[in-house]
Amino acid sequence: MSILALKAIEHAYLGRSVLSGIDLRIDAGEIVALVGPSGCGKSTLAHVAAGLIAPKSGRLSRGYERHAMIFQDPSLMPWATASQNIALGLRLARVPRTMRGARVAEAAAQAELQPGDLDKYPVELSGGMRQRVAIARALAVQPDFIFFDEPFTALDVALRRRMQDLVIGTCSEAGLAGLFITHDLHEAARVAHRVAVLDTYGRGILGSRALPGAPAERSDSAVQDWVRAALAGDPLFRHIHDVDERRIA
């Protein structure tokens, strides 16, 4: 049973077609990684799927209760402390004030934030800590679907690995489904059950490949072998590292 289904989705910005013929289905408890070169329309696809922008045409059906979104930049309110930022989703969902404290503390613990960091403002936190706050903000609303839009691109390699582990852990624990956008095939192979490839010009999903086993149990060598084989022999992944500066937003 699919929890998110896009059928023949089309979208254009100011008359310029960005997405066309997009078909994608995501099952309950499944993390699908969406890869493709920069500017091919991955963010647009996520925004359409999350209902932030209305598609020009096509059908969209969502079977989940509540989604959350984690962006490339943490998008924190600079004037609010970490805990106020984490509580934002709850505030917007009109969760009563008395219940927010416990939910914030729980989400912060899941994102491995120290209680001492919760009273700090974003300017006082490092890049990695800020992204943890953004993750906690997403987890606090107790979503059953999470959109990740290249959330770790700005972080260094070691930090990125720890964040990926955090995502893998929390998603498998709670059985969350999600769409994980990235242009890093290695990251896709670590966090997802399945990798889908978006066409360089946004003209459809070229195809998808299931990964062996669940992300939480997948070994590093299995990930590396899979990526090497995919890049060497699978025509689906031939163009994912193409870059066309003119199309980068």
């Binding site: 959350a68 979104m69 962006f71 004037w79 934002l88 917007l92 009273d119 403002y121 006082e124």
Partner: protein, 270 residues
């Protein structure tokens, strides 16, 4: 969120520290003033001491309290109109680029008209009344507030809007939770500037329109060539403005800028 005790103590210390700096500057000014007095004599520049004596004399007279109260009331009500109208119009213009584009040239024209011309017009329309003073305040201070509000909305961080939308906030809640708070960075300095303008323009309009208040008292002092009283009224006007700034502007500013201070305690970058 309750502020931690050391945080609050730090803010009080910082406040005292800035008060100390202000006091030092005031005494420097008094010294220069004294030097001027000694160089040019009491008919050109009364000594600071005599001026303070004149202030004390005025402070003992209920009639002068009424005069100062009149100016204060005019400045504050004029400012209130400016703040309400300027903020509302500016926010609308910020969300509607077409309106802003139309408003910009109008503002340029408005700001190009010398305040003295407005005083003449307002005197013709309203005579020497509250309305004259308020009109001049509104015309002189409105553009700043309008632009401050419009700028704040137009230059807001759109990624925050998108984020709030992703968490299910409609346009109204996005404005209340995200937009309004972001506007304060440009709106608040504009409001502080408008408050100062309101005071200065009020005194000037009163003087020229012969509308009583501190401006009227200054006009009388000029007629009597009473330099001590004139200076005393200037001191009182400045004192009123400073009192309002510390009672109104600084507490709000401290609250708004809390997060900025977090990165730069004591005004020094870590």
């Amino acid at each position: 969120m309750s502020a931690s005790l050391p945080g609050r103590a730090g803010r009080i210390l910082e406040f005292l520290w800035s008060g100390w700096a202000g006091l030092a500057a005031l005494f420097l000014l008094a010294a220069l003033w004294q030097a001027g007095h000694e160089a040019y004599g009491p008919f050109i520049l009364t000594s600071p001491q005599d001026t303070l004596a004149a202030v004390a004399r005025l402070a003992g007279d209920p009639a002068s309290w009424a005069l100062a109260g009149l100016t204060l009331q005019r400045a504050i009500t004029g400012f209130a109109v400016v703040a309400a109208a300027g903020t509302a119009l500016g926010l609308i213009a910020g969300y509607s680029p077409a309106t802003l584009r139309l408003a910009r040239p109008l503002i340029t024209v408005l700001m190009g008209v010398p305040p003295i011309a407005w005083i003449v017009l307002a005197m013709i329309w309203f005579g020497g009344s509250d309305a004259t003073v308020r009109t001049v305040i509104v015309v002189s201070a409105l553009p700043v507030v309008f632009l401050g509000a419009a700028q704040g909305i137009a230059t807001r961080d759109r990624s925050l809007d998108r984020m709030a939308q992703a968490f299910g906030a409609g346009p109204v809640r996005r404005f209340l939770v995200i937009g309004l708070r972001q506007t304060t960075t440009t709106l608040f300095p504009a409001l502080a500037l408008a408050l100062g303008t309101a005071f200065k323009v009020a005194v000037m309009a009163e003087l020229l329109a012969n509308a009583g208040g501190i401006g009227g008292a200054l006009a009388n002092a000029r007629i009597n060539l009473d330099i001590a009283t004139a200076l005393a009224w200037v001191v009182i006007a400045v004192g009123l403005l400073i009192a309002v700034e510390y009672a109104l502007v600084h507490p709000v500013k401290a609250e708004i800028d809390r997060w900025r201070r977090a990165a730069q305690p004591w005004g020094v970058k870590r």
